[in-house]
Amino acid sequence: MGTLQSSPAPSEYADLSEKTGFSFEQIGVLHKRFRHLSHGENVLRKEDFNGIPDLASNPIRTQIVEAFFDQRNFSKDGDGKVDEIGFEEFVVVMSHFRPPSLHMTEEQRESVRKEKLRFLFNMHDSDNDGIITLEEYRHVVEELLSRSGALGKETAKGIADAAMLEVASISVGHMEPDEFYEGITFDHFLKLLATFEIESKMSVRFLNMDTITLCK
């Protein structure tokens, strides 16, 4: 398990393990990483994430970091943002990326999918009103294209518009002339990405942290 400098003791691991589904070993490895990022402290702040060199070139870096400090990802009815998180919240956020286990019932698989899609939804819905509006979606696309430089806003707008149109036609189907599509609700989001197989795509392999894995 590696050397741990201090608390939490394995009994706390048991709690975390039950809550998030990670094994003790995985929690140990995550804890090591947490302490490395937080420079030995017990809480992690936004600035600590700036110390990760590879993250700097990621176009959606801000959203990812925000997601760690978003209380909606900590529990079902959380709301608002915090400035610092402890190890428990760190693990809870990470647990959204756990690969699905082999023996799962259809129900469990469905709930895992919902959980992951909820995480994605929260990332897009920055003002937490339960709807991804056109502006928010445009922001998402702009961020994605932010590394491409010159092409910028107009193209992002066009793409986001096309995407919203698609969602509208999938979720609402035929619309009357005076109807207006307000935004993507969580249900529409689910419907949109129904065939996306998110439970396997949105997974990171946690056990072998420092090894290169070639196959998923």
Partner: protein, 748 residues
């Protein structure tokens, strides 16, 4: 009634074709028998010479000189036969639904071979040189060029394990067990030593890409299984090449030492990596060349084909894996070439590849049938039966065993159903036959060939025919017929970055990390060199979006407005053509829309009168405007794309004030609108309406309840009203037409 008539017509047609072609094959060969000697060529000349000196012969009005065209004539005839057969099958629907095409083609080959044999002629056999140099490359190039990269790289580990370890296991298991079988006195097999058995095992153990493609194409299985079996069939070429050469060398020498075995392993790496390297080099060359082809677009497809073929041949020169080289070349070349070449060249490449690979495949199966009838056989019950049984057994064991290990490393595990399909889909095909044909030792060669052919027939016929009902029975997931969705693309990209980010936070250098590094390297260094102009900066999302728009525009054009629009464009854009061409694909979206819109408006207003008359005459000839055709399509697509963009921004945004817009619109719209009503009132709007929810409702939607974003919408409304105009005039929604007219008249 009509159906039965059609079917009987189909039957007779097929029968006639078949007889005609068999007959011509016979005549071809008959002449071949007659004109065997080269001196025959000289005779006519001499004859004429002597004639000239002796006496004058009457001038031959009609002469018969078959040798002159013999070779190309026969080749064309065979290809024609193959294609007519292919056509024939689809006329008889019931059969083609049950029996896969490959089976039917082999069957036809058998018949033709039988006919030729009955006439005591020598049939063309599936010569190894013909197969490896001419028939196989198109199929592999087609497969490699259109390989789904994402699925392939995600499952690369699994595919490699199946290809390398699986094939090795198969080869040694079959070879070893056959050796044991041959030792049994009762088999009367004769003296087949271990090395020959191993050689045989290595030939028969490779899964064949041609057969797999032929069968799997028709059953539309889900992407994962398809890529697993297909990827395996492609990558096992390296293993096959090494094993084949290794055992062939040593079966002459007689013994194998440890040193040789070690060299074999090294050779494997050299063959596979060398092949890939050769492919990459040619791929880069091809991509680099395509950067400069903007001035002669017509030869662009040729570059793609020739570089790839050269890659294959170069690899074969050094006994490297030609298949891997071809795949690597296609994969490397594709993204850069597609960014550089014109849309037409892309279509050309796609269709030529499909065409060639289709012809090749058909020819291969027919020749396989012919060779079966033709070839000298040495049928040994025990040998053949055991080979068959052992092949199946080793495949099943191999797949199950390897999956057990692989599943420990996979996120998406392979279920029992998946394993069954992978095992069952391990078809053998013409590669095995050709490799067997290359064998030099004649006494065992015939026995081996017979066994190989039997296995091929079994896998293609039995497994090929039954896989479809089995897939239905086991309810294996089918290929999801989803059209390109911009949302899925956005989220795929988003997830890529998200997972890379999370991986970085965890300190986990996984799959995504390296993919991200590769992408960044690609963007900063490689793209600058290999992609012409500004497109080198275009991110994938934008190219995807452009492609999708283009596709939708094309669909629009083909379905609804095709008949009428060209006439308009002909009139309007005659002067714009040159300019449009230059603007081509290197422009940014924004610039295109503004410039085009301005031009269209300018030209339309200028040519108002002439336009009307031209419209009248052009609408009769709208399908035959050849001089304008080429430019039309590009221009048309651009225009449609622009239109759709307009419609979308209208549909989704909420401008605050509606009152401004109508008055402004009226001033602009009137002239163009009039022009178009002449023509477009008759056009079926259904095509246009299907694709976009109520384009005509763009106007109506604008007065939707003002939302919170009013302030942001206000400065946009002026912009939008500006941009609305061209869409009004270009798309001319039918239903609103009257409304517009009435508004117009009322304001007067």
């Amino acid at each position: 009634m009509a159906v039965r008539a059609a079917r009987s017509a189909g039957f007779t047609a097929v029968l006639l074709l078949f007889l005609v072609l068999a007959g011509s094959a016979w005549t071809g060969d008959a002449h071949a028998a007659h004109n065997g000697t080269p001196t025959t060529q000289e005779d006519p000349d001499q004859h004429h010479g002597t004639n000239a000196t002796n006496h004058r012969k009457a001038f031959p009005v009609l002469a018969f000189n078959y040798d002159h065209v013999r070779k190309p004539f026969e080749i064309s005839l065979w290809i024609l036969l193959a294609l007519l057969m292919k056509l024939g099958f689809h006329i008889i629907p019931r059969v083609s639904h049950v029996v896969p095409e490959s089976c039917l083609l082999i069957f036809v080959g058998l018949l033709v071979g039988g006919v030729i044999k009955a006439m005591d002629e020598k049939a063309p056999v599936l010569d190894s040189k013909l197969f490896f140099l001419y028939l196989l490359p198109p199929i592999i190039l087609d497969a490699g060029y259109f390989l789904p990269i994402r699925a392939f790289t995600e499952n690369m580990g699994t595919i490699l394990v199946f290809a390398v370890v699986g094939t090795l296991w198969n080869a040694f298991f079959v070879g070893g067990m056959m050796f044991a079988v041959c030792q049994i006195e009762a088999a009367r097999v004769g003296h087949v030593d271990l090395l020959s058995c191993l050689l045989f095992g290595s030939i028969i153990s490779a899964v064949d890409p041609v057969a797999v493609l032929a069968v799997f194409e028709e059953i539309h299985i889900n992407e994962l299984l398809h890529i697993l079996v297909f990827g395996e069939s492609l990558l096992n070429d390296a293993v096959t090449v090494v094993l084949y050469h290794l055992f062939e060398e040593f079966s002459h020498a007689g013994t194998v030492t440890v040193g040789d075995a070690f060299l074999g392993v090294v050779s494997f790496f050299v063959v596979s990596l060398g092949g890939i390297l050769v492919g990459v080099i040619y791929g880069v060359l091809g991509a680099f060349t395509s950067r400069f082809t903007s001035h002669s677009r017509v030869i662009e497809p040729l570059f793609v084909f020739l570089y790839s073929y050269m890659a294959y041949l170069s690899a074969e020169v050094f006994h490297l894996s030609g298949i891997m080289s071809l795949i690597a070349c296609g994969v490397v070349m594709r993204p850069y070439v597609e960014a550089n070449i014109s849309h037409k060249s892309y279509t050309t490449i796609k269709y030529f590849l499909k065409m060639w690979s289709s012809v090749s495949e058909t020819l291969i199966f027919i020749f396989l049938g012919v060779s079966t009838v033709e070839g000298p056989h040495n049928w040994n019950w025990i040998f053949v039966i055991f080979t068959l049984v052992l092949c199946l057994l080793s495949r099943v064991l191999g797949v199950v065993g390897l999956t057990f290990i692989i599943n420990k490393f996979r996120i998406v595990k392979l279920t029992k159903k998946d394993q069954f399909i992978v095992a069952y889909g391990g078809l053998r095909g013409a590669i095995a036959f050709s490799l067997g044909f290359l064998l030099t030792d004649s006494e065992k060669k015939h026995m081996f060939l017979t066994a190989i052919i039997t296995v091929i027939f079994f896998t293609v016929f039995v497994q090929g025919m039954t896989i479809r009902p089995l897939v239905d029975l086991l309810a294996v997931k089918r290929k999801k017929e989803s059209k390109a969705s911009i949302n899925e693309e956005i989220h795929t990209q988003f997830l890529d970055h998200l997972l890379t980010g999370i991986g970085d936070i965890c300190g986990h250098y996984g799959h995504h990390h390296w993919k991200d590094k590769l992408n960044r390297f690609n963007k900063t260094y490689v793209k600058k060199w290999l992609i012409a102009g500004e497109r080198s900066n275009e991110p994938q999302l934008i190219s995807f979006y452009n492609k999708m728009e283009m596709k939708q525009a094309m669909m629009l054009v083909e379905s609804g407005s095709a008949a009428k629009l060209p006439s308009v464009m002909a009139a309007a854009s005659a002067q714009n053509i040159q300019q449009q061409r230059e603007e081509a694909r290197q422009q940014k979206l924004l610039k295109i829309s503004k410039t085009r819109e301005a031009e269209i408006r300018k030209v339309l207003r200028a040519n108002l009168q002439k336009t009307r008359q031209r419209l009248r005459s052009y609408s009769r000839h709208d399908l035959f405007m050849d001089p304008f055709e080429e430019d039309m399509s590009e221009v048309r697509f651009r225009k449609q794309k622009v239109e759709m963009e307009r419609r979308m921004s209208h549909y989704l945004t909420v401008p605050a004030k509606r009152q401004e817009t109508p008055s402004v619109r009226k001033v602009w719209f009137e002239p163009e609108h009039k022009v178009y009503t002449y023509d477009d009132s008759q056009s079926p709007r259904s095509g246009a309406i299907q694709l976009n929810p109520r384009p005509s409702d763009g106007a109506a939607l604008l007065d939707g309840s003002p939302q919170g974003s009013e302030s942001s919408a206000a400065p946009q409304s002026a912009d939008q009203s500006e941009r609305q105009k061209p869409s009004r005039c270009l798309s001319d929604p039918g239903p609103n037409e009257d409304e517009e007219e009435s508004i117009f008249f009322s304001s007067r």
